[in-house]
Subunit: 280 residues, 4 copies
Amino acid sequence: MTRHYRVLIDCRDEKGLVYKISKTFFDFGLNVEKNREFVDAQNGKFFMRSEVSGKFDPDALEAELKLVLPKDAVIRLAEPRPKRVVIMATKESHCLGDILIRHEAGELEAQIVGVVSNYEILKGLVERFDIPYICVSHEGLQRAEHEELILEAIDSFGEIDYIVLAKYMRILTPEFVSRFEERIINIHHSFLPAFIGANPYKQAYDRGVKIIGATAHFVNNNLDEGPIIAQGTIPVDHAMDWRQMQSAGRDVEKIVLAKALKLALEDKIFVYANKTVIFD
Amino acid sequence: MTRHYRVLIDCRDEKGLVYKISKTFFDFGLNVEKNREFVDAQNGKFFMRSEVSGKFDPDALEAELKLVLPKDAVIRLAEPRPKRVVIMATKESHCLGDILIRHEAGELEAQIVGVVSNYEILKGLVERFDIPYICVSHEGLQRAEHEELILEAIDSFGEIDYIVLAKYMRILTPEFVSRFEERIINIHHSFLPAFIGANPYKQAYDRGVKIIGATAHFVNNNLDEGPIIAQGTIPVDHAMDWRQMQSAGRDVEKIVLAKALKLALEDKIFVYANKTVIFD
Amino acid sequence: MTRHYRVLIDCRDEKGLVYKISKTFFDFGLNVEKNREFVDAQNGKFFMRSEVSGKFDPDALEAELKLVLPKDAVIRLAEPRPKRVVIMATKESHCLGDILIRHEAGELEAQIVGVVSNYEILKGLVERFDIPYICVSHEGLQRAEHEELILEAIDSFGEIDYIVLAKYMRILTPEFVSRFEERIINIHHSFLPAFIGANPYKQAYDRGVKIIGATAHFVNNNLDEGPIIAQGTIPVDHAMDWRQMQSAGRDVEKIVLAKALKLALEDKIFVYANKTVIFD
Amino acid sequence: MTRHYRVLIDCRDEKGLVYKISKTFFDFGLNVEKNREFVDAQNGKFFMRSEVSGKFDPDALEAELKLVLPKDAVIRLAEPRPKRVVIMATKESHCLGDILIRHEAGELEAQIVGVVSNYEILKGLVERFDIPYICVSHEGLQRAEHEELILEAIDSFGEIDYIVLAKYMRILTPEFVSRFEERIINIHHSFLPAFIGANPYKQAYDRGVKIIGATAHFVNNNLDEGPIIAQGTIPVDHAMDWRQMQSAGRDVEKIVLAKALKLALEDKIFVYANKTVIFD
């Protein structure tokens, strides 16, 4: 049986890494369909992503790669498969709806296993697509209590690969975040690091900027400070009040979030030093 | 003699302003070649810029406009003429050189009357264009002393309309700035308000952004916080170190600065509430 | 009762038009919330769009405007109201789905009254949104016969304002087009006038371009040659085959189509000389 | 002595190419600073560009690569060095001036050995930079005669690597072009393949497009149809006549041309099938 795999390797840089990796691929009789490498000379780090195919034993390949690569090497062998994704949202439908349409069209290497929201508002939209929707209202609850219920809701969908915060407007605790390290993708409605925090469109309007943007990033414990995956911008002008900026910004938000999600689903992202290396 | 004028009016908003202004133009027999208006409903402010032509007495027009408009109206009548511009720079030539080429091509409604720098480095380039170059080294001087000499240098060029900071890498004092209110245009090498302060490209690299930018703005007393005139962005990726970002960013810087300068030269900018209204 | 109206006027240019129009607004006691004008000096044409509000009789306003304006003046008074829109599509869901999501979110000044397609493929998606879907297969039919049935389907939805071709992949006859003059909006999957005709992504790939685009335009009798409303572009590179370009292009297509549709719905478009004047 | 080389290889695709190449590098003790590869699966073509350094004999490296690679392999070993460039221009200074400023700043891996023009207009500008300027007027001459003189002028500068047509507004004969195959870079003032031929800005204006662009390409025998290296676009609107589009377009032209020139100077371009593979 011919297998297709993505091989992602990162380790400290040293001479001959590409040689050793490509020799291993060659020895296993693999077709290398795509190769991308990056050496961060300053930090002495090496990154490589290959798409290979052939009749081979993935465990044996991984073992052999381990053998020839430096001890610190992180080796990921990923077979293309629909990743299991939970979407979290609050009230706005543009990012969520965009993902649902792409999902339905088979554009995403993903199975949307469920949507969790702190409001009922988006229930109708999601159920139109026959996807489970769980509303966990935050009203009257402590943050920890609310998050406990959110986690229960997520867990009810079974094993998951990624959580997508498609305009989920509440802050997650470090405990929550640490459970899904580098697996929560958020869309922030500004061109980070500009306008961190609440209502960035209002901030942008008040500052009088001529361009606004959106940022998709992995969530870590510092709000809006996780590794950036993708960003986009559009021009604005004095004639737009902040609600018009918000409205215009939605188009950027959804495109940028979808772009970041695809990169994650297709195993094209490395994270290190709070940054991303992306082989798109 | 047929005169061409730009008429810029801003005042508190009220009913009938366009009617009163256009009636005045009509009564004076003017051709209205272009009209742009903006009402900031939230703040009750009205802005209008017209390009008119005809045989008329500008003073009489201004007097009549004063008569029909609210007391607080600011009325500017500007005849297109080469504005007198001093450029300040430090070591980098891309913004300065770009302006010199445009100037030589007659693309700018400006006369570059001189260049002031704290280094000798750009002297050769500037003098190639037969433009006076004054080097005022800051070495061994207090900020106030240095600025005093800078002012002398500027004054030696006679009356001026605008100062362009084409990568002038020193901070100006409030005294200096207040002397040229809304007449100093700076190019900041980041997408403000992201990366205020020193070496924004290094900051951008460290943060791992996927887009960088540049911002042209009027200088006020708060560093990098004056009214924004124009901004631009370009994509970057993990493979670029900060020097490569800097190199790529130069193209945005010079285009954005030239754009802002043109807007100023062509009397297309209103400033209020630390923001700009631009009729381009 | 306070009424809100959009007033769109175009006529041959002459002195005093803004004066006469704004005087009329003033005499009717209207608030002018927004004004945009454009004079095409070369062709002696004047365009103006105003947003006005007040207690007034629209018929009287129109009559008065007719009185003061040149004989050739075309005057449109449009009250903001959900316009009735039929969408036509074939197999791809990205443009259709994007409009459905926006529609459901109340983002469009429109009521989607129905979808017509020559395939059953998109029926499920559309019916999720409780919108009527009529499939009119073209198989075994002459073009005229097929179009006859399409027209019947459209007519079954009652009066309509606009038809949106959201990737409807069949050519319409001049008869069809002339029935809906300046009321059919198409999205063409290239940066027109590049790559007119079939499979523009394949053409773009074969030509080796570095940027691809999409064009929304009114449909006239010459395929892909109607007045352009909006365009967008994105970078591509050698590593993308035409299917990847197609996939990337979809994001531009849907954004550009939605932008054009909004401009139409909000009465922001003038058409003349096979071009558009857009006051956005 | 440590040498730095760029190694560019293209050949038919087969298994193990990266292995063989990286093994060769390893056997020669080279540091691989950068690797980029591309497999055109459809056409069975392999492209690779590496930046290597070390103490080695380039001829021996080339010989070894020849030995291990398929017979059809084209192997280029290029040492970074200022390439010798002639610029041709006509009347407009924006592209030429931009290159001169970059050249003076040391931004280009090039030596501008001379400028050839069919007018005297740009002589002053070029000589400000102490670069030889030869005017070869086309007046009263047959195309062949004129080109003969152009060639003489170019030859007078000695050996050259590239000719840059920085808005040189005359058509070159196939004889001229074939002498400098893949070594003439032109900037076309439209988003090719839209608006081939004369005055593309006028064409763009007449068509009513909402975006204009520029294209840098290698010149081949079919006017405006050579392999595209880089493209750029900017938005325009109905209020711009074609001269304003031309003026706005100049900024894109110069940036796109400079980008293409840099790619060529840094040996980052492969040409095949009338397209470019670019490892930037």
